[in-house]
């Protein structure tokens, strides 16, 4: 088998799985837990095999990249949407960790979600997510990348709201969705600007050469605009800078989804995007500065917040955010190899920690006992280095999570609502709104419903 076929198979498997099981379910079919688990195991086995083979073939043949051109998805006049995939030295590690970690987490979830009413939903979404993530990492153009990007986003939101019969997960899922949409606006605009200015958004069109060491085909303001927009888009996915508030909210989902999305794969997609368009960012001092600035500020703020988090998952979320900030800085400084290494290591550690987060209690007690009842106190440096008022102030900022939610609520969402409400001046009240007061159905009941109305009392 050629690497091309392997790559196509690799990406297509989870998508096809999702589509088949999903449509079968809609039509009234149902897959047993056992069958679902078996199919998923097999799929990830095959996918792991594909990844290994691709890596081996590339290594043995000395290929730096493998391109697959599947033709145009659709064409209109001169415009065509190219479907082409690529695996190179940047994508390969990402593809590998996606397949491996999603596989491991899938295996974990077979046990974890056993008998949960959402078992099938979870696995459907996991497959869809794997498809989206693989698409992001193997897309040969920004257009295709967006496809995967959005799929990753929506599956992530649906998994945050996995416990749909509760209020909080639903509310937080909605909030995360809103954040994603605003962040994704940036990447969409970037794509259109790329089309506008270079006529293409494929890597081949935007850059010359292969990763690493490819060069930029754009220059000047255009490059800066696109780079800045992409930096913001990446920040959205990786919970950085202006979008740093959502990661903790994403902890509403079941533990394995927290692990695979917010520990491992989804949050690193932003970093991948930056690595991919690295020359573009490097060519613009503004974008470079922005990446470093976002990374540094987020890392510092997040590590401070992390230190005050008294629960397992939020703590991990902010710890992730901290490391992502550092990864952004590394990318900004051009240390791409280090960044990739960092991403891989971070993904592995974090997945493990998320999966083990219910153990935090017994882990702590074991360490406590082993240390003879004296666990090294933490946070003492604050006492020794900072004066009390400064300590309290910093603690306040950290405890308020940097006031992110307060700012967004009060200065973004509330004004939007006000404007929205004000816009109702253009809607004259054609119909007196009886419904809102009496809580009766707004319509006249049908003929049958009329039978239910009470005859007038006879005097």
């Amino acid at each position: 088998m050629t690497p091309q076929i392997l790559l196509t198979t690799l990406v297509a498997i989870p998508g096809a799985l999702f589509l088949m099981i999903g449509l079968a379910w809609l039509a009234g079919g149902h897959l047993s837990e056992k069958a679902m688990a078996g199919v998923s195991r097999l799929a990830y086995l095959v996918m792991t095999f594909c990844v290994v083979m691709i890596g081996w073939k590339m290594g043995s043949a000395g290929l730096t990249s493998v391109h697959v051109n599947l033709g145009n998805w659709f064409t209109v006049a001169e415009y065509g949407f190219p479907l082409s995939l690529v695996v190179d030295r940047l994508s390969l590690p990402f593809v590998a960790i996606t397949v491996i970690l999603a596989g491991i987490v899938g295996s974990f979830s077979v046990r974890y979600l056993h008998r949960d009413p959402g078992f099938q939903r979870f696995f459907l979404l996991l497959h869809l997510f794997a498809f989206g993530a693989l698409m992001v990492f193997t897309a040969d153009s920004l257009d295709l990348l967006i496809g995967g990007w959005e799929v990753v986003g929506i599956t992530s939101v649906l998994l945050i709201g996995f416990f749909q019969y509760r209020r909080d997960p639903v509310r937080n899922a909605l909030r995360v969705f809103g954040t994603y949409r605003v962040a994704d606006l940036n990447i969409l605009v970037a794509v259109f600007l790329a089309h506008h200015w270079c006529g293409t958004a494929s890597w081949g069109g935007m850059f010359t050469g292969e990763w690493p060491g490819h060069t930029n085909n754009l220059a000047g303001t255009a490059a800066t605009w696109i780079a800045v927009l992409l930096v913001f888009a990446a920040s959205g996915k990786s919970a950085q800078g202006p979008f740093c508030g959502w990661l903790a909210r994403a902890m509403e989902g079941p533990t394995p989804s927290s692990a695979v999305f917010y520990g491992a794969i989804s949050v690193h997609a932003g970093a991948y995007l930056l690595l991919r368009v690295e020359p573009l960012i490097r060519s613009s001092p503004l974008a470079t500065g922005l990446v470093i600035f976002i990374g540094v500020t987020t890392a510092v703020l997040s590590t401070m917040i992390h230190r005050t988090c008294a629960d397992a998952k939020t703590g991990l979320a902010y710890a992730s955010q901290t490391q992502l900030g550092i990864i952004f800085v590394e990318i900004g400084l051009g240390w791409t190899t280090l960044a990739i290494l960092h991403i891989i290591g971070h993904a592995m550690v974090r997945t493990m920690q998320f999966l083990r987060s219910p153990s935090m209690l017994s882990d702590y007690h074991r360490v406590h006992a082993a240390a003879g009842g004296r666990v090294g106190a933490t946070g003492e440096q604050y006492d020794s280095l900072l004066s009390k008022p400064v300590q309290v102030m910093l603690y306040r900022i950290a405890l308020g999570r940097g006031f992110y939610d307060a700012i967004v609520d009060r200065f973004l969402i509330a004004p939007t609502r006000t404007v929205a409400r004000a816009l109702s001046v253009f809607e004259p009240e054609w119909v007196k709104d009886r419904a809102s007061n009496s809580r009766q159905p707004a319509e006249t009941p049908g003929m049958i419903t009329q039978m239910m109305t009470r005859p007038a009392p006879k005097s």
Partner: protein, 465 residues
């Protein structure tokens, strides 16, 4: 002028009218005659569309009635509208099939099809007038919004008639030497009909207080867009371009305002109305881009909006009949626990409407934006903002209806019944498979887009001379 080999169009329209008459006279006969007539008309229009397709999108007159025709632009929407009628009639809850309601829906369908198939402006205007009939003559009972809807529909039709009169006064039936008055009247007709900002409120009222399923039919006729597409396809006067530009800006503003406005809404019907209005405005905006991608995008988006919004509206209606509180829920209703399939249908339709990758909506919007980029870059960006807002509001609506704590008084509502499941599956399959293999769907609209584009291109070309 070539003719269709069979009188498909007149046959299809007659079937609808006959169905309407039968259900009006014998309401006791129930849904069956209505379904049969919709099915027959669907087959007839499908035949016509196939023939047009085989003739590479050329104009084919009906064999019997020469003022009806099928061409690249209207053949596919005709089939779509017929299937939409069939879908809505099939899944309509019994509450919406009592009395003369079915008859009204069939009449509405017939009127819309007449407007689609019109080979001249007078027939087109007839279609417009006819759409107002079921509302004006209380086919759907007397819902609170009846009067408003009738007034706006009649207003639109009047404006169109006025335009035609103006054209006739100058004794010309094409647009080449049209008077300013006629042009402006056409714009007015479109704005009234489509509910462009600031004339959008009647559509919202109709969604909220009107009969919901007929409103879906009315809304998805997209007769305003049709009128613009028709007028683009013929040669236009010099100033028409500016007028069209203005119309596209109005559409854009409508899209933006409606998407923003829905943030303040909590009632499902109103929320849905704003999302639909906003997304439907893209069609008009796309038609105004005047290039292949944009126009094709708009025409595909037309189909997407039709399928997706009908699905959404139908599901809201289906839920309303099951649980009273859907009309004005106090808090999230959490119905997904009871009706997971309806929830999934809703989510897929909604995501297709706002253009999630993997659905046809994505391809349509991709084309739209590319088109917009080529001609009006800022229009593209604004549309992006509107979709982002719409997406958020759509998920809000989804949460409101399907997520959260199930109230204790909601007991044992059934999930989608077979009668409801199959039409909805059809919608979803079209949206999803179309999104995965857009190469099979988009070419349906190639010929139409090409025709419109050549018309505009020729004009531009001529203008340079």
């Amino acid at each position: 002028m070539t003719h269709l080999s069979l009188p498909c169009i007149s046959f299809g329209i007659t079937a609808l009218l006959a169905g309407s008459a039968v259900t009006l006279v014998r309401p006791a006969a129930g849904r069956r005659p209505a379904i049969i007539s919709a099915l027959v008309s669907l087959l007839a229009f499908a035949l016509a569309a196939l023939e047009v397709h085989h003739q590479h999108g050329s104009r084919l007159l009906d064999a019997w009635v020469p003022w009806l025709e099928a061409d690249a632009l209207d053949a596919v929407p005709m089939v779509f509208f017929a299937s939409l009628t069939l879908v809505l009639i099939t899944l309509a809850p019994r509450r919406d099939t009592g009395g003369s309601a079915l008859s009204g829906m069939l009449l509405l369908a017939a009127a819309t099809e007449i407007a689609y198939a019109a080979s001249n402006l007078i027939t087109l205007a007839t279609g417009w007038w006819l759409t107002a009939v079921p509302f004006a003559f209380r086919f759907f009972g007397n819902p609170p919004a009846r009067r408003v809807v009738s007034v706006f529909l009649i207003g639109g039709a009047l404006a169109l008639t006025g335009a035609i009169a103006a054209l006739h006064a100058t004794a010309l039936t094409d647009f080449s030497h049209v008077s300013h008055l006629a042009m402006w009247l056409i714009v007015l007709a479109v704005a009234l009909r489509k509910g462009l900002f600031p004339l959008h409120s009647w559509v919202v009222t109709s969604f909220e207080h009107g009969p919901l399923l007929p409103t879906a039919l009315l809304f998805n006729g997209h007769l305003g867009a049709l009128l613009i597409a028709r007028s683009e396809a013929v040669t236009l006067p010099h100033f028409a371009h500016q007028v069209l530009d203005m119309l596209s800006i109005a559409a854009l503003i409508t899209a933006l305002i409606a998407s923003l406005r829905s943030f303040a809404e909590k009632k499902p019907r109103r929320l849905l109305a704003f999302v639909c209005i906003s997304q439907a405005s893209f069609i008009l905006a796309g038609l105004a881009t005047a290039n292949a991608e944009g126009i094709t995008g708009a025409l595909v988006h037309w189909l997407v909006v039709t399928a997706a919004s009908s699905g959404l509206i139908a599901i809201v209606r289906i839920l309303e009949v099951r649980v009273m509180d859907v009309t004005n829920p106090e808090s999230d209703l959490g119905l997904a626990v009871k009706a997971p399939r309806l929830a999934t249908f809703f989510l897929i339709c909604g995501l297709a409407l706002i253009g999630l990758p993997g659905t046809l909506g994505y391809c349509a919007e991709d084309l739209l934006f590319h088109g917009a980029l080529a001609s009006h870059p800022f229009l593209g960006v604004a549309l992006l903002v509107a979709t982002a807002f719409n997406a958020i509001n759509l998920i809000r609506l989804y949460s409101l209806l399907f997520l959260g704590v199930l109230p204790k008084h909601v007991i044992d509502i059934p999930d989608a019944l077979p009668r409801e499941r199959w039409p909805l599956t059809a919608c979803v399959v079209f949206l999803v498979l179309g999104g995965i293999l857009p190469g099979r769907v988009i070419p349906w609209r190639d010929a139409a887009a090409h025709e419109i584009e050549t018309a505009i291109g020729l004009k531009k070309h001529g203008g340079h001379h």
